[in-house]
């Protein structure tokens, strides 16, 4: 049943977690007397397994938080002051429409820039909810390479958009490498499948500069200097080819470019890699040998893997490894990157890129600060910003410059939000949005093979609206006539999937309402070996060790840029996996490295989802104050003791944090979690103030792990 009513009058609604996370949990929502009383992970869902997480266990606390924005607001004080007055929806929409019409008349629609990502990742209210509207308006296109874009470009160049391994197949693996994956904090529901394999004798290897929780549980933790992993992957290949650990039959049948790759990896000896990565040459040799011999062997990459100058080529190299050793032959072998590719989503129908006027320019969202401060040389400068499903002031780099841009009096800013976030403080018009329990939505996953239906549990609170309703209202305000813009949520849900696709066989909305979720029509995890006999969705049908797509130049997948393919990056791409030195390194910039000798990483916070929950007492209590992990050697050299307040800085900015002296951080590397709110920080800034705007080599991925800083005692 989709609802059950208990004797005490409590009803259980089948919902789904909305957040930007690979686990997309099936969420039981307990409602009594019209209010959500509790949420619980669905015990019958094979991946959720009856639990949520530190972020969402008490989701109702978010829903009913005293500081939730429930009414439209208009700014009364200075930008950033957070001073607003309540207005009606009509007033808000009239003002937005008037300002946009004025801007369009004076400068054209390109002066308007949308900015959004995955505050929710629902098919109705998530990534694409505003795309048809802004595409039709003719606004500048927002290129959203927040996450996995570099890895996706690299992965697709190598094996094509294959779902790859089923995460549940990892229980059958004999050797598992978690590469740049902080699984127990960011993909926790996959952990039991990995742990089961480990209990059955599989060797679990974690490759990560940081001693994460997962690294502590691993059989082997390979600590590597940030942004150097490509050398490790290529040295593994060097050992595999030179010690003839190659599965020649698989390579001959199902790959292209092997002979060239073999010659290409000769310079990447374990000794070369040891010098660059800090990983011992014998450890590298042993890793390659064990990887080849323990079959089926599985690799799971995390989203942090791409975050350095050479991060794209790193994923090219890692994605090539399984074919070399024939890992794809059995269930439990291969690589897992982003099973989103398994879901037959009607992306074209969701983006409506066909609405985009020819010649519409693109701004990458990592460049928001530069775009707003006229530092991008845009033909049409940005005069209006519309933010939804995102909190750029916390997650975007170059925070100081972004504050400057958002502070512009002449920048008409509309923000849709749950709370008065750091970004929301700079809005001219603030619009209240619903939480997941106040809306219906359909959820894909980028970490498993289940489609999940979120059924609405309670009506919208106050005057909050769903994102879908926001864009219906904006379309009306701007006099859009196409009935497409006025579909209700049920119609949008129906139109969001390609229901006739084989992967959707047996799945219906009726069935989803009854159970809450459905596994895509794919083989079971026990038998799923999608590439036992090749069949890769690449131009050649094989694993392209030498990528034919490289000739087309660097690109960002259309799904990350409102469906648009205009003005792609087009930069040159090495056809074979190649090592690129970090942007910020002694090798490339000795003066910089002398001034700022420490590498900074800014990974996810355990109790937050990006900046979500950064304002909530429970999660803030669990996270503690903004901290920076610093190795005892580096701390001692700077006179820094445990819990001291320190200043972390580089040429882009500065923030303060509490020092945690620990060898969870490698010597030479400091680690400070992202997601904390600026308005709660010690000195009005957070790690994003130091993060660079430079792109990685593929997919315009960010380079947040390619960042030199210095830490000093306050």
């Amino acid at each position: 049943m989709n609802t059950q009513t208990s004797a005490e009058g409590e009803t259980t609604i089948l919902g789904a977690c909305p957040h930007d996370c690979p686990d997309t949990c099936s969420m039981l929502v307990k409602v009594k007397d019209g209010k959500v009383r509790a949420v619980q992970g669905n015990p019958s869902h094979p991946f959720t397994q009856g639990r949520l997480c530190a972020k969402t266990n008490h989701y109702q606390e978010r829903v009913y938080h005293a500081e939730r924005l429930l009414y439209p607001m208009r700014r009364t004080g200075a930008k950033g002051s957070g001073q607003f007055e309540r207005i009606t929806w009509d007033e808000a929409l009239n003002e937005i429409a008037a300002r946009w019409r004025e801007t369009i008349a004076e400068a054209g629609p390109r002066a308007i820039l949308p900015y959004s990502y995955l505050g929710t990742q629902g098919l109705v209210n998530g990534l694409t909810v505003g795309d048809p509207f802004f595409n039709k308006l003719g606004a500048t296109v927002s290129e959203r390479t927040f996450c996995d874009s570099g890895a996706s470009t690299a992965y697709i160049m190598t094996v094509g958009p294959t779902p790859g391994m089923d995460p549940e197949s990892f229980q059958h693996s004999k050797l598992i490498i978690l590469w740049a994956c902080n699984m127990l904090s960011t993909n926790a529901h996959m952990w039991p499948f990995v742990e089961k394999a480990q209990r059955n004798g599989a060797k679990l290897i974690v490759i990560d500069p940081v001693r994460t929780r997962g690294a502590q549980q691993a059989d082997q933790h390979i600590r590597i200097k940030p942004g150097t992993d490509t050398a490790l992957a290529l040295a593994m290949m060097n050992v595999l080819v030179n010690e003839d650990l190659i599965d020649h039959d698989y390579v001959a049948q199902y790959t292209t470019g092997f002979e060239e790759l073999k010659a290409h990896v000769q310079p990447y000896t374990p000794e070369f890699a040891a010098e660059v990565t800090g990983v011992d040459a014998e450890v590298i040799r042993t890793l390659a040998r064990e990887y080849a011999s323990a079959q089926p062997a599985a690799i799971r990459i995390g989203v942090g893997i791409e975050r350095s100058a050479g991060g794209g080529q790193l994923v090219r190299a890692v994605t090539s490894l399984p074919a070399l050793v024939g890992a794809w032959r059995k269930p439990g072998g291969g690589i897992l990157q982003l099973p989103l590719w398994a879901f037959p989503v009607n992306w074209d129908g969701l983006h409506r890129a066909d609405f985009i006027p020819e010649g519409t320019p693109v701004v990458n969202q990592w460049h928001l600060g530069r775009a707003l401060t006229h530092d991008l040389g845009l033909e049409t400068p940005i005069r209006s910003l519309c933010v939804y499903n995102s909190n750029p002031l916390v997650v975007a780099p170059d925070q100081t410059r972004l504050i400057e841009g958002l502070s512009r009096e002449d920048l008409f800013t509309v923000v849709s939000e749950h709370f008065m976030t750091d970004t929301a403080r700079y809005a001219d018009i603030l619009l209240p949005a619903t939480t997941q329990v106040e809306q219906a939505d359909l959820m894909f996953s980028w970490g498993h093979f289940y489609l999940t239906l979120n059924q609405q549990a309670v009506p919208p609170i106050g005057e909050a609206v769903t994102n879908s309703e926001l864009f219906r209202r904006l379309a009306r305000a701007m006099d859009f006539e196409d009935p497409f813009f006025y579909r209700d949520d049920e119609e949008i849900m129906q139109a969001s999937m390609l229901w006739d696709h084989p992967a959707m066989q047996g799945i219906t909305m009726e069935g989803l309402r009854a159970t809450g979720y459905a596994r895509l029509n794919m083989p079971s995890a026990d038998t799923y070996a999608p590439h036992a006999q090749g069949g890769f969705p690449t131009p050649s049908g094989k694993v392209e060790l030498k990528a034919s797509m490289a000739a087309g130049g660097n690109f960002v997948l259309p799904v990350f840029r409102q469906g648009y393919n205009g003005f792609q990056d087009g930069g040159p791409v090495d056809a074979l996996p190649t090592f690129h030195v970090r942007h910020e390194s002694a090798a490339k910039d000795p003066a910089l490295a002398a001034r700022f000798p420490l590498s900074m990483m800014s990974p996810k916070s355990h109790a937050f989802i990006n900046s979500n929950y950064g304002n909530m007492r429970r999660q803030v209590a669990h996270q503690g104050e903004q901290y920076v992990l610093i190795n005892p050697v580096d701390a001692s050299a700077r006179g820094i003791q445990q819990d001291a307040i320190v200043t972390v800085q580089n040429g882009r900015g500065t923030f303060k944090a509490l020092a945690r002296v620990t060898d969870d951080a490698m010597a030479g590397v400091v680690v400070t979690p992202l997601g904390y709110w600026v308005d709660r920080s010690i000195a009005g800034a957070t790690p994003a103030a130091l993060n660079p705007t430079a792109f990685a080599d593929l997919g315009r991925a960010p380079t947040f792990s390619d960042n030199l800083v210095e830490v000093t005692l306050d």
């Binding site: 009856g50 639990r51 266990n57 904090s185 926790a188 929780r213 355990h606």
Partner: protein
């Protein structure tokens, strides 16, 4: 950041909790269980499993229950991992009734 086992576990030693922990963080002796705070990821899976509601998010501890944070941390370091379910203590039914569950 951790969950803790309070003294409701004493005289019961129910072990439903260990069957759902993804990180095997439960430690125990013959009397009761504790949670290793260094391993607990606050997934919350164990909370609804305990028949006597012995497990609490440390954030939700009443003032007079705060002591369990330190006790769990100390005892977890001294005791072996409990992975498998076993019969509760003979005193469990009475204790459960006395606690009102």
């Amino acid at each position: 950041m951790t969950h803790v086992v309070t003294d409701n576990c004493e005289q019961c030693r129910y072990t439903e909790c260990v069957t759902v922990c993804p990180v095997a963080c439960f430690r125990g002796d013959g009397e009761r269980l504790f949670i290793d705070p260094d391993l607990c990821v606050d997934c919350g899976a164990c909370v609804p499993m305990c028949p006597v509601h012995a497990i609490v998010d440390s954030f939700d501890l009443e003032d007079d229950q705060q002591i369990w944070i330190g006790v769990n941390e100390r005892r977890a370091k001294e005791l072996p991992t409990v992975r498998d379910r076993s019969a509760p203590l003979p005193t469990a039914p009475d204790r459960r009734a006395a606690l009102g569950y």
